[in-house]
């Protein structure tokens, strides 16, 4: 989970690296689906660039998840925590 930092203030959080790895697609493939340069995906993943709404929507669509599953203004809880808690609820 990465956060974009400008003037010490986090701007947004992203799960892009996790979601991309989960789907087994390369930065270049995702870049082609989103219509950007592959380098831009790297900057997004490292939290060094804030995407426009259109680009964020395109990325979410390419990953077939809602926008708020990829980008958030508040920190994401870790996938492991979420899975563990969910399993705990089902027991």
């Amino acid at each position: 989970m990465k956060k974009q930092v400008a003037d010490e203030q986090p701007q947004f959080y992203t799960r892009l690296p996790v979601l991309r790895a989960e789907r087994g697609i390369s930065r270049k493939e995702l870049a082609e689906l989103a219509g950007v340069h592959y380098q831009t995906i790297g900057y997004l993943e490292r939290g060094e660039y804030s995407p426009s709404l259109v680009l964020a929507l395109r990325i979410a669509a390419a990953l077939a998840v809602p926008l708020d599953a990829v980008f958030s203004l508040t920190p994401f809880s870790s996938m492991a925590d979420q899975l563990y808690n969910t399993e705990g609820e089902h027991r």
Partner: protein, 161 residues
């Protein structure tokens, strides 16, 4: 049916050539920028000493320097993927944003270079500095080339591309 790529698309593909990846790091960019400045200084020196050398040496030197200029400038543009010169149609939103920042910073640098050029030209014509004719050629020739390459310098040295 796929439309054939435009000249801008072909240029973008050439400047994004993966074989140039070794140039896309801050150290290589600084070296190329220093090399380009060295070529411009060497041009000034050759023009400055034109009266002291045979015409063949001058022409040969200028040809060599022109080739060096093409290679260093080409390398520098490849190192930045040409975001400073390509049209926004072939850039993505991040690259277009960088292009905007480059032009804003280049405008400020260009203003300074322009003022210095005009000041030097006026000074060279003043009675206090009996500047030789060569100086009146060196100042505009070097300034012009410097002004044309300012966006590339700014991109290579100031931007994360």
């Amino acid at each position: 049916m796929n439309a054939s790529p435009t000249s801008q698309q072909r240029r973008a593909a050439r400047l994004d050539d993966p074989s140039m990846e070794s140039l896309r790091n801050p150290r290589a960019r600084r070296l190329l920028a220093a090399g380009l400045l060295a070529v411009l200084v060497a041009e000034g020196v050759i023009i400055g000493f034109v009266a002291l050398m045979p015409i063949g040496v001058f022409v040969g030197g200028m040809v060599v320097l022109s080739i060096a200029l093409v290679f260093t400038l080409g390398g520098l543009k490849a190192s930045t993927r040409g975001v400073e010169e390509l049209s926004p149609e072939v850039l993505d939103e991040r690259q277009a944003q960088i292009r905007g920042l480059v032009y804003a910073q280049s405008y400020r640098v260009l203003s300074v270079v322009f003022v210095i050029t005009v000041a030097l030209m006026l000074l060279a014509q003043s009675p206090w500095w009996a500047a030789p004719m060569e100086v009146m050629v060196i100042i505009p020739v070097i300034s012009w080339q410097l002004i044309l390459t300012i966006p590339t310098f700014v991109t290579a040295l100031r931007m994360k591309v």
